[in-house]
C-alpha cells in the first residue's frame, strides 16, 4: 500500500543540484519498491537539460515548464505541487534555503506530516516512518516517529544519503506543463544580489587553509597567512570568524558562505559544525587541528592533530619552509 514518492529537483544553469541524486537513496529507504518520481520546475532549455539528466536516475520525471517558474519561488511552487501531488503522497526535499521555504507550509496545505532535516531514515512500520534528526545545534540526536498515512513532506540533509550513480537507461519525462498555468503568488521574486567577490575566490582553490574560532583573535590570522604562503595555498574560514570581522565574508566556507571543492583542506581551530562542512564538497583530504579532542571535526577529517592552533601552526610553517 505504498504511496507515491516524489523528489523535488533543484537546479541552476542547466545542472541539477547534488541533492537530486541523494534523494533517490532517501526515497528507497522509505519505499524500497516504489520508484520515485522527480519533479522539476523551470523554463527553457536549461529545464530540458535537467530533465534529461534526471531521466538517467529517476524512472519518471515530471516536467513543469512556465516562465513564472524560471526562478524557484516557493510561494508559486507550493500551490502547483498542491495541485499535482496525489493525496497521501510523500515528497522529499533537500534541506536548504528553498526546502525550508517550501516544505512546512506545503505539508500543512497537503494536510500531511512534516519531517525537517532528516539525517537518517530507519524505515517504515505500517504507516509510521522512523527517522533520525539532530537537535541543539547537532549536540544530540533524536528518533522521530512520523504518521505518514495522510502523506508527508520530508526534508533531507545534504550528504547524509549516498548519491546514486546515474545510469544511461532512460527514465520517462512527462511534460505536465499544462498544470502550471494560471499560477500566481503574493510574493514576487525581484533579483539575486551576489555576495561580494572580494580579493580572492576560494571556490577555485585546490588547497585551503581554513581557520575557525580557535584562531582566537584577528591578530592571529597572520599565523594562517604564513602557513598558506608556505604551502602555496589560500586562507578561508568558518562563519564565526566572519561574524567577528576577522576575515571578509568572501573567505567563508559553509552553507551560508561559499561552496568549495579543494583537494586538500586544513581545518584549524574549526569545530566541524554541519553548516560549515556543508560548504565542503568533493572528497578533499581533510586535516584537522583542534585543541578539543572531542571536536566533531575529528569525525569527518582524514587526519587529526590535538594541539593549540597558535602553537602548532607556526611550527608546521617553519618545518615546511625548511623542507623546501
Amino acid at each position: 500500500m505504498a504511496a507515491q514518492v516524489f523528489a523535488f529537483i533543484l537546479h541552476k544553469d542547466g545542472k541539477a543540484d547534488d541533492s537530486a541524486l541523494e534523494l533517490v537513496a532517501a526515497a528507497k529507504k522509505i519505499f524500497p519498491d516504489t520508484p520515485p518520481i522527480a519533479i522539476v520546475t523551470g523554463a527553457g532549455a536549461a529545464l530540458d537539460a535537467v530533465c534529461q539528466e534526471m531521466a538517467a536516475a529517476y524512472p519518471q520525471v515530471w516536467k513543469f515548464a512556465n516562465e513564472v517558474l524560471a526562478y524557484p519561488n516557493a510561494e508559486i511552487i507550493r500551490p502547483l505541487l498542491l495541485k499535482v501531488l496525489p493525496r497521501g503522497g510523500v515528497l522529499l526535499l533537500p534541506q536548504n534555503t528553498f526546502g525550508m521555504d517550501l516544505g512546512p507550509g506545503l505539508s500543512v496545505k497537503m494536510d500531511a506530516a512534516y519531517v525537517p532535516d532528516a539525517v537518517a531514515i530507519e524505515g517504515l512500520d505500517g504507516a509510521t516512518l522512523k527517522v533520525v534528526r539532530q537537535e541543539f545545534n547537532g549536540q544530540v540526536s533524536t528518533h522521530l516517529a512520523c504518521d505518514i498515512s495522510k502523506g508527508a513532506v520530508i526534508s533531507v540533509r545534504a550528504g547524509c544519503f549516498p548519491a546514486v550513480e546515474a545510469r544511461s537507461a532512460g527514465g520517462l519525462v512527462v511534460d505536465k506543463s499544462a498544470d502550471a498555468g494560471g499560477l500566481s503568488a503574493r510574493r514576487r521574486f525581484v533579483e539575486v544580489l551576489q555576495a561580494e567577490v572580494g580579493d580572492v575566490d576560494i571556490t577555485k582553490e585546490d588547497v585551503l587553509v581554513s581557520v575557525g574560532r580557535g584562531i582566537g583573535d584577528k591578530e592571529n590570522v597572520p599565523i594562517a597567512d604564513e602557513l598558506a604562503k608556505a604551502m602555496g595555498a589560500v586562507v578561508s574560514c568558518s562563519r564565526p570568524v566572519v561574524d567577528a570581522k576577522w576575515l571578509e565574508k568572501s573567505r567563508q566556507v559553509g552553507t551560508s558562505g561559499k561552496t568549495v571543492k579543494p583537494k586538500v583542506y586544513l581545518a584549524l581551530g574549526i569545530s566541524g559544525s554541519f553548516q560549515h562542512m556543508g560548504g565542503l564538497k568533493g572528497n578533499p583530504f581533510i586535516v584537522a587541528v583542534n585543541k578539543n579532542p572531542k571536536a566533531p571535526i575529528f569525525q569527518v577529517a582524514n587526519v587529526g592533530v590535538v594541539a593549540d592552533v597558535l602553537e602548532f601552526v607556526p611550527e608546521l610553517t617553519e618545518k615546511i619552509k625548511e623542507a623546501k
Binding site: 521574486f189 567563508q252 561559499k258 583530504f285 569525525q299 602548532f312 623542507a323
Partner: protein, 262 residues
Amino acid sequence: MEIMVCVKRVPDSAENEIVVKGDGSDIKRDDLVYSVNEWDNYAVEEAIQIVDRVGGSVTVVTIGNEDSEEVVRREMAMGAHKGLMLVDPAFEGCDGRGMAAILKAAVQQGKYDLVLTGAQADDGAGQVGAMLAALLDWPYASLVNLIEVKDGVLSIGREIEGGNQEINEISMPCVLSIQTGINEPRYVGIRGIRKVASVEIPVLNAGALGLDAAGLGPAGARVKRLDYFVPPAGVGAEMLQGSTDEIAAQLIDLLKAKGGLK
C-alpha cells in the same frame, strides 16, 4: 504597523552542556540556563526598529508555562509594547503544526499586518512560521535578513546559498522568519527588566483562544519524538601522535602525497 513576534524560551546551547538522560527520555535540564531563542531576539529587535520608523506596536507572544514569562518580559524590556502568553496543559506534546494552530488562534484575535518568527529554534526545525502562514493563508518568506517597508508591500531580502541575497516583494499581511545578523539587537539589562516588572501580561488558555483541546497535544500530533540519544562515534580521523616535530614531519609527508604542498 501592528506586528506580532513569536518567541520561544529555550536552553542556551552556547552556555550549557547538553547531556542525554540515562533513559533517553529527555536531556538533563536541572543545570540548564534558559533564555529567549537567539533568532527570535533578532526578530523582536527588527520589529521594534520597523515600528520606530513607521509607527504601530509590537506584541510578543509565546506558548509555554509560567517559566516562559521571563522571556516575554525581557523582550518587553527591550521595547516590545505588549506581551501575550498562551498557556494550557493541553498544549504540551504538540508537534510543529499544533503549535502553529495555537498561534493562528492568537493572531486572529488581533489585527496584525506582520507576524515574525525566528528562522529556527533549539530543535532546528524552522517550521512553525511557515506552517502558521499556511494555516492563515498568508504569504511567507524564510531566512529574511532585510526588511524595507514600501507602500502596501514589504521589500525583503532572504539569505540564500553562497551568502547571496534573494530580493522579493511580499504583500501584507504576511509571515516572515528572521535570520540572525539582520540587525544588532540592543542590550537589555537587569534595570530594563525591572522597569517592566509590574506590567500586566495577559494569559490565554485553549478555551480563550477558541481551540478544541482534543485536536491538540500528543493526540493531534503526527510527528512524535521517541527519544534522545548520542550516536556512537564513528572511526573518525587518524590521530597523529608524537612530539610536535614528529607530527609536523608526518603531516608534511601526507600533504606532499595528497598534493597539498606546491
